[in-house]
């Protein structure tokens, strides 16, 4: 068992697998000016749930994902993980490189482009994490690879190179690779991006199927409304680097279906506009945006 540390201000139960507290991430742009992309982001992820992180372009969704997988260092805040091998939550920001790598072996990540290794076949891509991180015999690895590819209906394409695959096939192969090590947590970066509606639905169903069969916690970053409403148990809505609302899918459905005139709060009007894709509302109203900025900056 790994030595652990406790989060500073979060009530932790065994059901919480990830706890994000007061996360801030700032980048310096080419003009040398600091731009805060994420600010005071806090939320919990329950074990086994599918949490969708949603928001418009440039709201900080992908940055948040990169922070969660340890790709970016945080300026402020903590991200605590409680995977099954840990007796108490452990803070990602204080982990050594080796500890981060141990944690990453409990992750699976599906990248936006699939990010398959172009010099390897589909089968070799799926086998890579297994051959690198386990002492399993090659014959057993072959069997696991076949199993994982079968799960995503890609077994017939096992010997193909990534360049021979379509966009949807690349995502499915990427999903097989992401699940190769039987992860506890699966991260998805824009899984439906660039896919036609039918393939997009197929990928969503595959995600739900895997979630059920493998009992994994899924964190999905997307701005595709249909996909989000299909797969989410809960949704975190980001706007200008801050959490606007954390709620269940049903709560968001009520908000989406409400007539704009019936919504009283500014945040509800803004989310209603975003969820329905209206071109009139607080998001596109200069005065409203200014009010919103006042609201989020306190």
């Amino acid at each position: 068992m790994t030595k652990t540390s406790s989060p500073s201000d979060a009530t932790h139960d065994r059901n919480t697998i990830i706890s994000v507290r007061h996360l801030r991430k700032t980048f310096t742009n080419s003009a040398g000016i600091d731009v805060t992309v994420l600010d005071s982001v806090s939320f919990d992820v329950a074990r086994g749930e599918t949490l969708v992180i949603m928001g418009g372009s440039g709201c900080g969704k992908s940055t948040l994902l990169n922070c969660l997988i340890g790709e970016y260092e945080l300026d402020l805040g903590e991200i605590h993980f409680q995977t099954k091998d840990l007796i108490a939550p452990k803070n990602l920001t204080t982990m050594s490189a080796d500890e981060k790598n141990t944690l990453r072996k409990r992750f699976g990540i599906l990248f936006q482009s699939g990010a398959l290794f172009n010099s390897l076949t589909v089968g070799e891509n799926v086998a890579l994490p297994l051959s690198e991180h386990s002492s399993v015999k090659p014959e057993v690895i072959d069997m696991i690879v076949a199993l994982k590819l079968q799960l995503v209906h890609m077994l017939p394409h096992r010997d193909k190179m990534p360049s021979q695959l379509s966009g949807g096939q690349k995502k499915r192969a990427g999903l097989a690779r992401a699940t190769a090590m039987d992860p506890e947590i699966l991260f998805y970066d824009e899984p439906s991006a660039g896919l036609d509606p039918v393939t997009s639905t197929a990928i969503d169903e595959l995600m739900m199927d895997l979630s059920k069969k493998l009992a994994v916690t899924s964190i999905v970053v997307t701005h595709e409304m249909d996909s989000a409403f299909r797969i989410a148990d809960r949704i975190v809505m980001l706007e200008k680097g801050r959490v606007l609302k954390i709620g269940t899918r049903q709560e968001y459905e009520v908000l989406r279906d409400a007539a704009p005139a019936t919504l009283t709060t500014y945040e509800d009007q803004l989310m209603n506009q975003f969820l329905n894709g209206y071109n009139i509302g607080p998001l596109t109203n200069a005065d409203g945006l200014s009010e919103f900025e006042k609201l989020i900056t306190g």
């Binding site: 790598n101 990453r104 990540i109 990248f111 482009s113 290794f117 890579l128 690198e132």
Partner: protein, 288 residues
């Protein structure tokens, strides 16, 4: 009539102001460039240290795998595919060198010394250096483009996400493949370069091949070969490190990939010639 303040503010700046402003901008640009150069030298040194550390761990730590298959694959790619180009370049260099020095030597009645000069120049200097320059354009650019494309397509990020260190996985095999293969290529370059000199001496300068070979054998001593091959190994490592550094630090999509390859070739050539000058000075001082 006196001018209003607003009219004053609309007036274009004077020549003196514009000159000072231009000098300031130029100085800022130069300082930024110098800063970039220093940080890339630092970055390359850091990358080299990490590469050597991973190499050490791969050999001596039981849990870290030495990626022999990947090293061999890169050796084939870097070395075998460069052989033809290195040979063509070196045979011409041998010919050119013999023809360029022949008239001067003939004036002093020393035409037989062509073999000595060609042999020493090629083995100590031109063989390793030109092989490294060919390698920078051929393998260096290709390594930089490949790694840059992997960064852009999130493959490098995917490696990290799977708890695989890109330096262990990608850089170590390319570094050692480049070091090993350039030594082999430099040996081939030496032989081919001297053959180019021999052919010219035989065909144009009427020197018998046996006399040429005897003179070559007598002119060369072991330190000539060792110092030449040592320099080649260093150049190989240098090209690999610059290419990998530029590839890993790519920015700006397809245009960035193109820029990384160009910068790799330019920096490699400068680094090869600069390092060569330093080594030549050291060997000269030590009397090697």
């Amino acid at each position: 009539m006196s001018e209003t303040p607003s009219a004053n503010s609309n007036r274009p700046p004077s020549l003196a102001v514009r000159t000072v402003s231009s000098i300031g901008e130029l100085a800022e640009h130069r300082i930024n460039k110098a800063h970039d150069s220093v940080s890339s030298v630092g970055g390359i040194i850091l990358l080299l240290a990490q590469t050597l550390s991973w190499s050490w761990r791969s050999v001596f730590e039981s849990g870290v795998r030495l990626r022999k298959k990947a090293i061999i694959e890169q050796m084939v790619r870097i070395g075998v595919e460069s052989i033809a180009i290195v040979m063509i370049v070196q045979v011409f260099i041998g010919c050119i060198l013999a023809l360029q020095i022949a008239p001067t030597l003939e004036k002093y009645g020393q035409i037989g010394k062509v073999a000595d000069i060609v042999a020493i120049a090629i083995v100590r200097e031109l063989g390793p250096m030109l092989t490294a320059i060919v390698l920078s354009g051929f393998a260096g650019a290709s390594i930089a483009a490949e790694i840059a494309a992997m960064v852009e397509s999130e493959e490098v990020k995917a490696l990290r996400a799977h708890a695989l260190d890109p330096i262990h996985f990608l850089i170590v095999p390319r570094f050692w493949a480049s070091v090993f293969m350039i030594v082999g290529l430099a040996v081939i370059a030496n032989v081919v370069g001297m053959c180019g000199g021999l052919l010219t001496a035989w065909g144009v300068l009427d020197i018998a091949p046996s006399a040429y070979l005897d003179a070559t054998q007598q002119a060369l001593v072991l330190p000539d070969l060792i110092t030449g091959l040592f320099k080649a190994a260093v150049f190989g490592g240098l090209v690999a490190m610059i290419a990998c550094y530029e590839g890993l630090n790519v920015r700006g999509g397809a245009a960035g990939v193109g820029r990384a390859t160009t910068v790799t070739v330019v920096k490699s050539i400068v680094a090869i010639i600069g390092t060569d000058a330093v080594f030549t000075a050291i060997f000269f001082t030590l009397g090697w």
